[in-house]
Symmetry: D2
Subunit: 140 residues, 4 copies
């Protein structure tokens, strides 16, 4: 991917990667490591880890239907199974791509089951400036 998303500092800190992006849809992943746990003995990720992946991949999906930047307005996450994985994978789909906001659904999975589902509203117009992650590439 050449979106520049992976060069964002926090995306790098957590080790998130964008696997695929197309109109209305994005897929990303995050490899687990002890630093991201709440308890290294159990390997359970801190709840903010699947959230970070969901928010990031959801924003990438929203970007595909946006004029420019896509700040998150709100997001809800539901944890449905213990967040344990070697690699978390998140798939985001735009449910509603209006002229001002997009509603995005995200599913976060481990190797065998759904870990969390998230739903967020992103601003897709009316924002000033360039995209936080795709912007740099535009000038290259």
């Amino acid at each position: 991917m050449s979106t520049g998303l992976e060069r964002l500092p926090f995306v790098q800190l957590l080790g998130m990667e964008l696997e695929a992006i197309e109109e209305g849809r994005a897929v990303g992943s995050l490899e687990m490591r002890d630093e991201l746990t709440s308890n290294p003995a159990t390997g359970i990720a801190h709840g903010a880890v699947p959230y970070a992946l969901a928010d990031t991949v959801g924003g990438a999906a929203a970007f595909t239907v946006a004029e420019s930047v896509t700040p998150t307005i709100d997001m809800r996450i539901d944890y449905v199974n213990p967040p344990i994985a070697d690699v978390f994978e998140a798939t985001a789909e735009v449910l509603r791509g209006g002229n001002t906001v997009a509603t995005v659904d995200v599913v976060v999975e481990n190797e065998s089951e759904v870990i969390a589902t998230a739903r967020g509203t992103y601003k897709v117009s009316g924002a000033s400036g360039t995209s936080p992650w795709l912007g740099r590439d535009d000038t290259e």
Copy 2:
């Protein structure tokens, strides 16, 4: 604080600190640094940073009314101002402290205004095992 919360790996990675905890209420903080931004030029935190603080401090507040561990069941965050700060501070209050779940309200602020508000539901009973962060202290 001697809760052990600050020894959790992900809490350490982000640099979250628990400032105060009492029955039904907790306060925590997080010092910003470039690694936590989406764009170091603007200093804007990735949206998952205030979320991480809200979820962590909300869990600490839920813990004060819980029998044992307090996994997050769901959380919604609303971003109301750009997440820029030297230090983010989150204050969590238990709105509903039932026998099975607690509803917690969290406000995340920078030095001058509210950045985000979050509301989460935490499991406060029926969980097995010891708390991920207070547990260790119990055996000391």
Copy 3:
């Protein structure tokens, strides 16, 4: 259906009907009429109408995995298309059926598209008393 759900006063007032119920899943419908609109000229339902259907059908799905009553703890609804329909249909599925809470996903549709999606957390144990809608049948 013999669940008694349709005898609940508010369910009758809105005209909600339970179409199907099985382990972890429920389907219900609501026929539109002018009284349920925000604007009879456009036929647009008040936003609380698809919410009422989502909450009710979601509670029915949660009930199938519950010990007794299933009060709603929280619910989020996202409106993705204008709420116009002759008949709204809602399908609810249990995403997480734990021993204390259930997480339920609901999709509300009209004849051709998704109108709203909702996700709720319901209490499935620890409640006292009998079910508000299945209870009566138990004594018959």
Copy 4:
């Protein structure tokens, strides 16, 4: 109030009234009656009743900062005490009044305590047409 809100069919069906409205804030009420319960014996309102009041009063608050109509994009409600009241009262405040969306916080109370809290995102620009409830007055 001369907003026309109370003439909306669904608002009339439930008996919701607007008590006060000013820049960024609205207050409304709803008198309970058996038709609005899930169980007339207990007097417990169906969960969609406080939701309907929260959504309606929240929309009125959003309208005060909007260019035109304010459709709800999403709303989360948390039920914190049993919804029993003679009269429910909801107070809505705009937390974020941007140029495209408004974030609104609503508290629903009975005579002695908080029953539910809700947080919603409303569209405040980019909409076509006139307000569903204030529009008529504009032409009078």
